[in-house]
Symmetry: C2
Subunit: 443 residues, 2 copies
């Protein structure tokens, strides 16, 4: 083809768009069959209700319901919308909340960007935060302002400081983006007390909250309870919270069905934005998910799914502990898919990645979840889509890669600390730019 440089034809947004770092690691994983990938936050395909989906698809596709393969309403399949109201009510969310189906939660994040963000507006978010949010808001040319988390969740004092500073500079705050339940990437559970403080603060400062809750149903019942996952929105009297949730982690993500719950006046805005985005989500996917819920399969399977991920978490914690000893710390996840680890001093998880791939293991470096500086030792390890044996193998390989990296001593830090290259060495002082919350240390 004649043209190779399209630069002058591209939008500013497209010229500057940031690609998802996690998706990039997917390409690496696909190129090596034997790699153990602890990178993607994929659910376990064994947790998908295969037989039930097959039965449901067979009954939906008889042609009895001629609308099953037709365009549907932008807001979603009406029986599913009614179901979502019940699911939200089960989570404590008041009646009067309206909903729209979205093509996965990524679309929900993107619709939030469309509906709330003008270029230069500020989005407040946790530090670290989910890459999908960072790209959706960042690509809409928001100014991303990340706020430190402490052991209870995002710090209200820091939030208020950031808000005051940004408003003083004449900037509009689009919203605060939080993932209170088993945050991606840290696995942190924001305490109920902190949720109340966040809501009171948002009300006093007139800020909207976008509450992203894909993992709430996946608490580990040895360390957490359903009550602790109560959404912030459940106590919202003002219609100030926009609630996002999804069936990707509890049914199957290949069925692209998630939703936004919000005040009716906002849902109308999301609906118009979704018309432009994709007219409607898959009619078949929506009906399958609806039937999974309607037939009680959704609720019935949750305890099994929780147990599955709880066991994997235990296996991963044990493996990290036995391979690394005290040299690696992490936040104890109380649910969800992830272990957020801090590797030994001298490791830069971006620089380590090629060596890790050589050793046959993949993870997501901490930098992917930051928009500014971050502790270079951090990484997200997903235990959700790997077997117990793969977890052990993967962590073993990671440990080998780390040992080799420290022995090779390529980094300035480890060169400075000559001789201190044992993998079992405990890290001493915190490194610059650490964004880690002081969570429980494993091992």
């Amino acid at each position: 083809m004649g043209m190779t440089d399209y630069t002058r034809h591209l939008s500013t947004r497209s010229r500057t768009s940031r690609e998802s770092a996690i998706r990039r690691t997917g390409d690496i994983a696909a190129s090596r069959a034997d790699v153990v990938s602890l990178a993607p936050g994929f659910p376990d395909p064994d947790s998908f209700p295969w037989d039930e989906v097959r039965d449901i698809a067979a009954s939906l596709l008889t042609g009895g319901d001629r609308s099953a393969l037709q365009y549907g309403p932008t807001r979603g399949y009406p029986p599913l919308l009614a179901g979502l109201a019940e699911i939200m009510a089960d989570r404590g969310i008041r009646g009067g909340t309206s909903a729209t189906v979205t093509t996965g939660s990524q679309q929900a994040l993107d619709l939030c960007a469309r509906v709330f963000i003008d270029p230069g507006d500020v989005v407040l978010l946790e530090r670290p935060s989910y890459t999908g949010g960072i790209t959706a808001f960042g690509n809409a040319q928001a100014r991303l302002v990340c706020v430190q988390q402490d052991s209870e969740g995002p710090s209200v004092a820091h939030l208020d400081e950031a808000l005051t500073r940004e408003r003083a500079a004449g900037r509009r705050i689009a919203f605060l983006y939080v993932i209170p339940n088993f945050q991606n990437p840290t696995g942190m559970l924001t305490t109920l007390a902190r949720r109340h403080e966040l809501l009171a603060w948002s009300s006093s400062r007139d800020v909207l909250i976008v509450e992203d809750d894909p993992y709430g149903a996946l608490y580990f019942d040895d360390v957490a309870t359903a009550a602790e996952t109560r959404p912030i929105m459940a106590d919202d009297q003002d219609g100030r919270v926009v609630y996002l949730s999804s069936f990707s982690k509890t049914v199957a993500p290949g069925l692209r069905v998630a939703w936004i719950g919000a005040a009716p006046a906002l849902i109308s805005k999301f609906e118009v934005a979704k018309q432009t985005a994709d007219l409607c989500s898959s009619s078949l996917d929506q009906r399958i998910v609806y039937e999974i819920w309607k037939r009680g399969i959704f609720t019935k399977r949750l305890p099994l799914i929780r147990q599955c991920y709880r066991e994997r978490r235990t296996i991963m914690e044990q493996a990290v502990c036995s391979e690394f000893g005290a040299s690696v710390t992490w936040i104890e996840p109380k649910g969800g898919f992830f272990l957020w680890v801090t590797l030994p001093e001298g490791i830069d998880t971006d620089a380590l990645l090629p060596r890790a791939v050589d050793h046959g293991v993949l993870y997501v470096p901490g930098s992917a979840f930051h928009v500014d500086s971050c502790d270079p030792r951090t990484a997200r390890l997903a235990f959700s889509a790997v077997s117990h044996q793969e977890i052990r193998t993967g962590i073993g390989r990671l440990a080998s890669a780390v040992r080799e990296e420290l022995d090779a001593g390529p980094s300035a830090v480890s060169a400075m600390m000559a001789g201190s290259s044992s993998a079992a060495r405990s890290s001493s002082a915190g490194s610059k730019g650490s964004s880690r919350a002081p969570g429980s240390a494993g091992g």
Copy 2:
């Protein structure tokens, strides 16, 4: 809920977003069970391969392929991408074109907006044009500049005039958006000669072309041939054309599977934009469509589908002719879903709509396909999703509504032309702002 006015929290885009007029008529149709809706451009559910989709779903959902319900690559299911290359090659499009799957063609339009449009950039488009394009580009804050069509397609002279004027005013041209095959809403087929002229013009003026082709396979073989549907992209040597197509009209739209074909350097940009938009399209939908194509069902069914719509076109033309006589004109559709009619002088199709609904028929007023003034007598009548009997009933009801409207004489024009309220009256002079191409008159 406490907050009712979210205005200060909304983006400029959301405050000013334009809703799809067609989607609005859907709400009216849903509120009356007995209404005959000639409004939505839905395909006929009887044309969907129900049995085949059911069989395919059953074999996909055995759990043998663990990825069938998992997240997939953003660009799409790799075997489907290979299939798209073959489908495009069958349409004359050269090798070396790359593709990305999209969640329906609406997402493709939206990705074009993201990748090419900065606020204030110009999009050139046909007059009238598809509402989904108008909303996608308009909501991205493009300046929409519509260009007259003549009997061969969009006028190159008018295009060049518009381009020169807009560039002289310092504006950037994002792209030209065209629907050469059985345009929505006019049903027009751009001639091959005009396609060559458009391509040569776009090259000389360094403009990209977004070629939207959902209907190309649906030519009516009594008045058109496959050769006449050859995409503009087939003759593109420069990578200047971005080609959009879809399975919505040829398989089923509830499976949200469409695609963009373009030079690899552009597809990378679309892929990054799609990551932000929804990560990936439905894994199940993509696999079903792929199997439909792979098993030869797609190709085998096309002649039947063409015949179905050809017959409906004939029925609708006959009904319009017998109900309205010479008082209504239209462009003879050579394929696709629509009859673009001009109703008798004195009718304003926006004003007529409530009366039409009272009579039990729905259509889309011509204004929905315009961004500026338009001939108020125009309307789009879809024959795609209604039976022969419904077509006859619907056109009969439309004729009654038109007669009643003219008798009531509510519009300024018919009041002025007192007494001339016969439905069989032939319209005389063209009304102001007419955007209609001089197509063949029916009857």
